[in-house]
């Protein structure tokens, strides 16, 4: 074998960075990030006899402001510190506590969220870049083979097989093919990529490097939602640390050098559509492109372009695990005691009922779930015991609707949102979304016209914003036909 083994490369990098060997000392992680800062976590004083370090949100957004006491082999999260710092926290620091470990599991994409101070040293201690160390040694074709065996599919909503898409790029011999990471995440109700960027940005860097290695790409752009400033900052810090440690130029693990550039979005639901991202990066109007040609053949500046969602690339870092965790991130909010980011195994056993149990709500207290926001559908209680399937989960955004939620008002407000957010490039969406809002004033009278309009929008829109803009309406009218009353007769009769 030529060059260092993955273990040797990781150990060498560890030594160079001065990573602390052995067990961590007792310390307290104060969860900041966007979640913590929105509820003044920085103002919480933690004078408990142990060093305090800031960390990101660990996905338990409901707990903010929160802190986690870390002792060797033991972690305990203390929630809602705005209500006071409990004596138990100091006791836990002293070792007088035997609570089970808090937080996410021991595998998957969220395993490092909120568990470290974000330094490369800490990330390496917790398995960071282990998958890239392996991938950098493998031939690209072998990585694709592993990926194909794992069966990983895109996590942005379209569920496209990752190995197939990567294979198309690998087959291109274009010298300037490019990777674009979709971290725009502009769908209302979705906050998963923000957590990944803030809490474990090195995982995305690692996934990108594996993608580049497998496809022969040397140039990458990461398109981050303009409002996700903390995520962008954290990612840029991670990028600088990775560059300084020789991870991007091939020094640390081998593999070819990759340049990575960050681009900020500036709002707009349609900007999460992949061809809109390409136009946005090029400095053109943020509108979708006609397909074909597909981006894999002619994308950014006409070059073959691999576009993957941030969560997809993070999931790539688990393909060498045995077995890789078949998980999906579900950002969960609404009428639920413990809203936050949940990583759930989609393994044929997980149901909505179990997800709801994790979030602290009894299925009997739930009228429906809104899955996928303005492009989504309503999930009814009769589906709660059916095993989750990856292809039905979209981007994962889930809002729990309790008994008092007004389905008609929610449906109308989502329709109005789609009308506001339509970029206007194609007629079915530009006109259709506006017309749908009018027709929803009296759905009973207008039912046939609504169905016909949605059919046209679904079939003829240029992108998925228009194509899926009527989905929640169809779902609501089918499931809750009696929920709608006439709102404005002048509108309804037009």
């Amino acid at each position: 074998m030529i060059g260092p083994t993955p273990t040797q490369a990781l150990r060498r990098l560890h030594d160079a960075l001065g990573a602390p060997p052995g067990e961590v000392e007792v310390h307290v992680l104060r969860h900041r990030g966007t979640c913590g800062d929105a509820v003044d976590a920085a103002a919480i004083t933690l004078d408990v006899g142990a060093p305090v370090a800031d960390a990101a949100c660990d996905g338990a957004c409901w707990a903010a402001p929160a802190a986690t006491v870390v002792r060797p082999g033991h972690r305990h999260r203390f929630a809602r510190l705005d209500r006071g710092v409990p004596d138990e926290l100091a006791a836990c620091v002293r070792g007088e506590c035997d609570e089970p470990q808090a937080g996410s599991g021991e595998a998957g994409l969220t395993v490092r969220l909120g568990r470290n101070d974000g330094s490369l040293t800490d990330v390496l201690t917790r398995g960071g870049y282990g998958a890239y160390a392996v991938a950098a040694m493998l031939q690209p074709a072998r990585i694709l083979e592993v990926l194909r065996g794992v069966g990983l599919t895109g996590r942005g909503g379209a569920h496209f097989p990752v190995a197939t898409k990567w294979g198309l790029l690998a087959a291109h011999e274009h010298p300037e093919k490019v990777l674009v990471v979709n971290a725009e995440e502009g769908e209302p109700g979705v906050f998963k990529d923000r957590h990944l960027l803030e809490g474990d940005p090195h995982r995305l860097v690692e996934g990108m490097l594996i993608a580049c290695r497998a496809t022969g790409i040397h140039e990458a752009y990461v398109y981050i939602n303009g409002q996700a400033r903390n995520g962008r900052d954290a990612f840029e810090r991670a990028l600088a640390d990775a560059a300084a440690a020789g991870i991007l130029d091939g020094t640390a693990f081998g593999g070819d050098p990759v340049t990575i550039e960050v681009r900020s979005g500036a709002g707009g639901y349609v900007c999460g559509e992949e061809s809109v991202i390409l136009n946005s990066i090029e400095g053109e109007r943020p509108v979708p492109r006609f397909k074909p040609p597909f981006a894999t053949d002619s994308g950014l500046w006409g070059r073959p372009t691999l576009i993957n969602n941030a969560e997809t690339l993070c999931a790539v870092t688990t393909i060498f695990d045995s077995p890789p965790p078949p998980t999906k991130l579900l950002p969960l909010s609404g009428d639920v005691p413990r809203p936050g980011l949940y990583e759930v195994p989609v393994d044929g056993n997980m149901t909505w009922a179990s997800v709801l149990a994790m979030a602290g709500v009894a299925p009997a207290r739930v009228q429906a779930l809104l899955l996928g926001g303005p492009s989504g559908r309503f999930v009814l209680p009769e589906e709660f015991d059916t095993p989750l399937e990856m292809r039905t989960l979209g981007a994962g955004g889930t809002v729990v609707l309790g008994p008092r939620a007004d389905i008609a008002a929610i449906t109308r407000s989502l329709a109005a949102y789609n009308a506001r957010e339509s970029c206007g490039e194609c007629t079915p969406c530009r006109e259709g979304t506006q017309r749908l809002v009018q027709l929803l004033a009296d759905p009973a009278t207008n039912r046939d016209r609504i169905d016909a309009l949605i059919e046209v929008m679904t079939e003829a829109s240029l992108c998925a914003l228009g194509g899926m803009a009527g989905r929640h309406v169809t779902s609501a009218l089918a499931a809750f036909p009696d929920a709608f009353e006439v709102t404005d007769p002048t509108e309804a009769s037009r």
Binding site: V39, W62, R263, S264, G268, L332, G334, V399, R420, E421
Partner: protein, 159 residues
């Protein structure tokens, strides 16, 4: 077109003129390529808080595209502001999760207490800490109550 030929940002306010020069310098620091158009608009807005015509014209001149195309691009992004925001304005989220948590009632309460200083805004992606509001420094606030906003407004008025 050099900066000196651009319309003044606000000739009555020297501080504005200084900020405008900073914004234009930030634009000038970027490569003169079409793909730097959105970055140029973002750095200008970061410096000024919004995009006055002078900044749009300067970005157009620097990137070497027609002003009309810059406007066409700028109006495609909801976060780019073509009008000067009113200081002290709160944006209250009325997305689905915030609405369930009383976002609309919060908006009504703030509108009543601070007339002209409360606006509706779409999802801010902090749904787990609903209801959410954004202050005029673009800081996100979670689990917001009317009294928390009014306290902040009072504190702001006294400083």
């Amino acid at each position: 077109m050099p900066a000196s030929q651009s319309a003044p940002y606000d000739s009555a306010a020297p501080a504005d003129a200084e900020r405008l020069q900073w914004a234009l310098r930030s634009v000038d620091a970027l490569p003169r390529r079409r793909d730097q158009l959105l970055p140029a608009l973002l750095v200008a807005q970061h410096a000024l808080g919004w995009l006055p015509r002078a900044a749009i014209e300067h970005a157009a001149a620097h990137i070497r595209v027609p002003v009309s195309e810059v406007y066409a691009t700028a109006t495609g992004y909801s976060e780019l502001l073509l009008e000067r925001p009113t200081p002290g304005t709160w944006h209250v989220c009325t997305g689905v999760s915030c609405d369930l948590a009383g976002g609309r009632a919060l908006l009504d309460a703030v509108s009543e207490a601070l007339p002209g200083h409360a606006l509706e805004i779409d999802c801010q992606f902090l749904c787990a800490l609903a209801p959410v509001a954004v202050d005029d420094a673009e800081r996100l606030h979670g689990r917001v109550t009317p009294s928390r906003i009014l306290d902040a407004a009072t504190e702001r008025a006294s400083t």
